[in-house]
């Protein structure tokens, strides 16, 4: 999948869960930068990403999701597997 298309889909998933678009999709973006992105939102965002792309992150990968850059990278890798 093209990176731009992936970023657009991830942005939509995140906005759906958070119910706002007050964030910029930069690689350095972390949960603590975004209003309402708490642990429940994290759980919902990851669940919805896995459902949308029919992928499943393993436990090590979940712990690596420190910022948006890593989320994009790992999602892309899982889609291609």
């Amino acid at each position: 999948m093209k990176k731009e298309e992936l970023i657009a889909k991830l942005s939509s998933i995140i906005a759906d869960v958070l119910e706002h678009t007050n964030f910029e999709m930069t690689e350095e973006l972390t949960a603590s930068d975004v209003d309402g992105w708490d642990s429940l939102a994290q759980l919902m965002i990851v669940t919805n990403i896995e459902k949308e792309f029919k992928i499943k992150f393993n436990l090590n990968e979940l712990y690596e999701l420190d910022n948006l850059g890593r989320l994009i990278e790992l999602t892309n890798t899982k889609i291609d597997q």
Binding site: D38, Q42, L59
Partner: protein
């Protein structure tokens, strides 16, 4: 207290710790949030909690290393969990717990939670980095009134203070209708720092109460 010994939990305690988490979460009610919010039976929840403990992750209520256990005649009868939040730059315990749940629970259970997540919006207490978090205290009915809760609290504070000399705050969250526990914590130097409340009437079908208190003590 002479008949009881306090020790750190080991992997062998996982089945007991799963029961501790379940009973602590019920808070004396019949409602288990992991059952109601994920549409699972209590037996299924117990199995999943055992699996989460089995991953050996530190820093949350599903970590064996968080718990101290009280034994009576070499059998565990009480336990209390504690960890220092964001210790050594680690992720927050809520995120650690989220990751474990995401990995362990089924897609269907997570989708059920998603459909009910609006109920939890204002009910996720914020934990302070570097504060000691107390979670999941449980004492078997036959062994209550022996001071085990207080003893386990003291041991957790001593142990964690020794490993984190700069530790100066303890936090504990509990349902606001648990007046007995609130009073015990108040008597032991805790005060109510914050309240988290949901106005959805439906929340009473999924949680023991609609308000969670964060209590704190400076040590």
């Amino acid at each position: 207290m002479n008949n009881y010994t306090i020790r750190h939990a080991t992997k062998k305690d996982i089945p007991f710790l799963a029961k501790v988490v379940i009973e602590a979460e019920k808070g004396g009610s019949e409602i288990l949030n992991y059952s109601t919010l994920f549409n699972l039976s209590e037996e299924e929840v117990e199995r999943l909690i055992i699996e989460m403990f089995g991953h050996g992750i530190d820093g949350c209520e599903f970590s064996v290393t968080s718990y101290m256990v009280a034994d009576y005649k070499e059998e565990p009868v009480a336990a209390f969990g504690a960890w220092v939040e964001n210790s050594k730059g680690n992720k927050s315990s809520n995120i650690i717990k989220s990751n474990l749940i995401n990995y362990t629970f089924s897609k269907e259970s997570l989708e059920f939670l998603a459909s009910k997540s609006y109920l939890l919006k204002n009910l996720i207490p914020v934990r302070e980095p570097n504060a000691l978090q107390l979670e999941c205290l449980y004492v078997n009915k036959e062994h209550r009134g022996e001071g085990l809760g207080l003893k386990l609290t003291q041991k957790q504070e001593e142990f964690n203070k020794k490993n984190h000399p700069a530790l100066n705050k303890v936090q504990v969250k509990l349902y606001a209708n648990n007046e007995k526990a609130i009073n015990v914590y108040k008597k032991n130097g805790f005060s109510i720092a914050k309240s988290y409340k949901s106005d959805h009437k439906e929340v009473f079908d999924y949680l023991p109460y609609n308000e969670i208190l964060m209590m704190e003590k400076i040590i």
